[in-house]
C-alpha cells in the first residue's frame, strides 16, 4: 500500500482505535498493525505527539501480573478531531472512487 497514504492516515487510525476503547501501548500497536503494514515503532512517537496536542491523554494502571501499564484515552478535543478527520477521509475516498469509476466507464465504453 502506498506509504504516503499510510502516513497520512495513521493519526486517524490511532484516534479511531483509542476512541472505541482505552488501550495500552502494545495492544494499540497490535491492533493497527493487523490492519495495515507500518513501522510499529512509530506509533509511540505518534501517541506522544497526540498527547502534546491534547487529543489523547494517558493514565497508569497497576497490573498484578507485571509492570504498570500506560493506557491511552481519547479526550473531547480528540473526539472532535477524529470526527473531522473521518469526515474528511470519507469525502476524499468517495470523490477518488467516483473519479476512478468514471474513468473506467469511459474506457470500457470505447
Amino acid at each position: 500500500m502506498n506509504s504516503q497514504l499510510k502516513r497520512g492516515t495513521l493519526e486517524l487510525c490511532a484516534l479511531s482505535a483509542v476512541s472505541r476503547a482505552d488501550c495500552y501501548g502494545y495492544e494499540l500497536v497490535n491492533r493497527i498493525s493487523k490492519c495495515m503494514e507500518i513501522t510499529e515503532g512509530t506509533i509511540y512517537p505518534l501517541m506522544k505527539r497526540l498527547k502534546e496536542s491534547g487529543l489523547i491523554e494517558s493514565y497508569i494502571v497497576e497490573s498484578p501480573e507485571g509492570p504498570p501499564r500506560k493506557y491511552y484515552k481519547i479526550t473531547q478535543s480528540g473526539k472532535e478531531e477524529l470526527q473531522r478527520l473521518s469526515e474528511e477521509w470519507f469525502e476524499f475516498t468517495a470523490s477518488v472512487s467516483e473519479l476512478l469509476k468514471g474513468e473506467y466507464e469511459d474506457d470500457s465504453g470505447k
Binding site: S3, Y26, V29, T39, G41, Y44, L46, K48, G66
Partner: protein
C-alpha cells in the same frame, strides 16, 4: 536498521534521536520498555519484538515535530537509497515463474511477494470456464480475490503472468486444461533454458573476441608509444646540439648579474675589509710559549713604541697647526708681510695652508698605521690564547 536485541535497540535509538536533536526522550524510552516487557510476556523473543518495531531510523524521525509531507520526502529519499523498507521483508519473485527453478507445478504464491508484472487480461478472460473459487494449492486471498473479480468482469488486476494464469486455471477441475498448462510450462521452461544457453555461449564468444581484440590493440598502442618516445628523444638530443654555448651564456646580462662578485669588492664585503679571527664557539686553549712572548712584546710595544708613535703623530699635527697659524698670520697679521707684492702674499698664504693639509694627511696615515699595529697585536694575543 533493525536491532537484534533490546539493549541494541535502545542504544541505536538513543544515537538516532541524539543525531536528530530530539530531547525529552525519557517517556518514549519507558514506552518502549513497556512494549518489550509486554512482548516478552506474550512469549516473543527480544529479536522478534525488535523486528516488529521496525526501522529505528524511521522511528527516530517520526519523533520530529515536522509536517508529514517533509517526513514523506525524507523517507522517500531513504527508500530510494535503499536504507528503509516500508513493507515487511519479503522475497522477490521473478515476474515469469517459468524461468524459476521449479516450474513443474505453479509456484506457491507467497503472501508477501512483490510482483512487478500485471497481465493485460485476467485469467477469466482467457479461460472462461474456469471455476471461480477452486484454487487448491495456488490459493491466496490475493489470488482468490483476483479470480473472483475477474469472473465478475471487474478489473484485470490479477497478479501473475499469462502462463501463470494458464497454470492457475489448470488447477481447476478440467484435466485437459491441466495438461495443456503443464505442457505449456515445460515448453516455456525448455525454451527459456535453451535461450539461456545460446545467449550464454554467445556471450562467452564475444568476451573472448573482445579480450583478444583488446590485447592486440594494447600491444599496438604500446609499440606506437615506444616509437614516439624514441622519436621524441632523438629530436630533443638534436635540439640540444644547437644550444648556445656556456661561454655565450655567461655574457648575457642575466648571468652577469648572477655571476661572481668581482674580487676587488669581496674584501670590503667581509668585515669591512679586515680579516678577523673567528673564535666563536672555541674554548680557550692557552699556548703558554706564545702567550709569554706576547706579553713581552706587549711591554715593549705598549710602553715604548706606541707612545713614541703617538707623540710623533701629535707632533705632526702640531706642526700642521703651526703652519696653518703662520699662514693665517701671513695673510692678516704681519706688517712686514705687506711689503711684498699682493700676488706673492697670496702664494705664501695658500702655500702655507697646502703644506698644513699635507702634513695633516701624513699625521693621519701615521695614526692609521698605529691602529693597525694595535689590531695586529690583539690578534696575536687571541691566537696565543686559543692556540690557533
Amino acid at each position: 536498521m533493525i536491532a537484534e536485541n533490546k539493549a541494541e535497540f535502545f542504544e541505536q535509538l538513543g544515537v538516532e534521536l541524539k543525531r536528530l536533536g530530539v530531547e525529552e526522550t525519557t517517556e518514549l524510552m519507558s514506552d518502549f520498555e513497556e512494549h518489550f516487557s509486554e512482548g516478552t510476556r506474550r512469549g516473543l523473543s527480544e529479536e522478534e519484538v525488535c523486528r516488529e518495531l521496525g526501522n529505528i531510523r524511521e522511528i527516530a524521525r517520526s519523533c520530529l515535530d515536522i509536517k508529514s509531507s517533509m517526513i514523506n520526502s525524507m523517507v522517500a529519499r531513504d527508500v530510494q537509497r535503499k536504507k528503509v523498507s516500508l513493507t515487511k521483508p519479503g522475497r522477490s519473485v521473478p515476474a515469469d515463474p517459468s524461468l524459476a527453478a521449479s516450474s513443474d507445478s505453479v509456484s506457491k504464491q507467497d503472501e508477501d511477494c512483490v510482483r512487478s508484472y500485471t497481465p493485460e487480461h485476467s485469467s477469466a478472460e482467457i479461460f472462461p470456464n474456469a471455476h471461480p473459487n477452486d484454487n487448491s494449492d495456488a490459493g491466496t486471498s490475493e489470488n482468490a480475490n483476483a479470480n473472483g473479480a475477474a469472473n465478475s468482469g471487474g478489473s484485470g488486476a490479477s497478479t501473475g503472468t499469462g502462463a501463470n494464469a494458464g497454470g492457475n486455471a489448470s488447477n481447476t477441475k478440467g484435466g485437459t486444461f491441466e495438461k495443456i498448462g503443464k505442457t505449456v510450462d515445460e515448453v516455456c521452461d525448455k525454451a527459456g533454458k535453451a535461450l539461456n544457453n545460446a545467449f550464454g555461449k554467445a556471450e562467452d564468444a564475444m568476451n573472448k573476441a573482445g579480450k583478444t581484440v583488446g590485447g592486440a590493440m594494447g600491444k599496438a598502442g604500446d609499440a606506437v608509444g615506444d616509437a614516439m618516445n624514441k622519436a621524441g628523444k632523438a629530436v630533443g638530443d638534436a635540439a640540444r646540439q644547437f644550444r648556445p654555448s656556456d661561454s655565450y651564456r655567461k655574457h648575457t646580462s642575466k648571468d652577469r648579474r648572477g655571476g661572481d662578485i668581482p674580487p676587488q669588492f669581496t674584501k670590503a664585503k667581509t668585515n669591512g675589509g679586515y680579516k678577523f679571527v673567528d673564535v666563536s664557539g672555541m674554548k680557550p686553549n692557552v699556548n703558554k710559549g706564545k702567550l709569554t712572548f706576547e706579553v713581552v712584546l706587549d711591554v715593549l710595544l705598549w710602553l715604548w713604541v706606541l707612545p713614541a708613535v703617538c707623540a710623533a703623530v701629535l707632533a705632526v699635527f702640531a706642526g700642521a697647526g703651526a703652519l696653518a697659524v703662520q699662514g693665517v698670520y701671513c695673510a692678516v697679521g704681519n706688517g712686514a708681510f705687506y711689503e711684498f707684492v699682493f700676488i706673492t702674499r697670496i702664494f705664501f698664504t695658500v702655500g702655507f695652508f697646502a703644506l698644513a693639509t699635507a702634513v695633516f694627511n701624513i699625521g693621519l696615515l701615521l695614526f692609521k698605521a698605529a691602529m693597525s699595529l694595535v689590531r695586529y697585536i690583539i690578534t696575536r694575543h687571541v691566537k696565543a690564547i686559543y692556540d690557533i
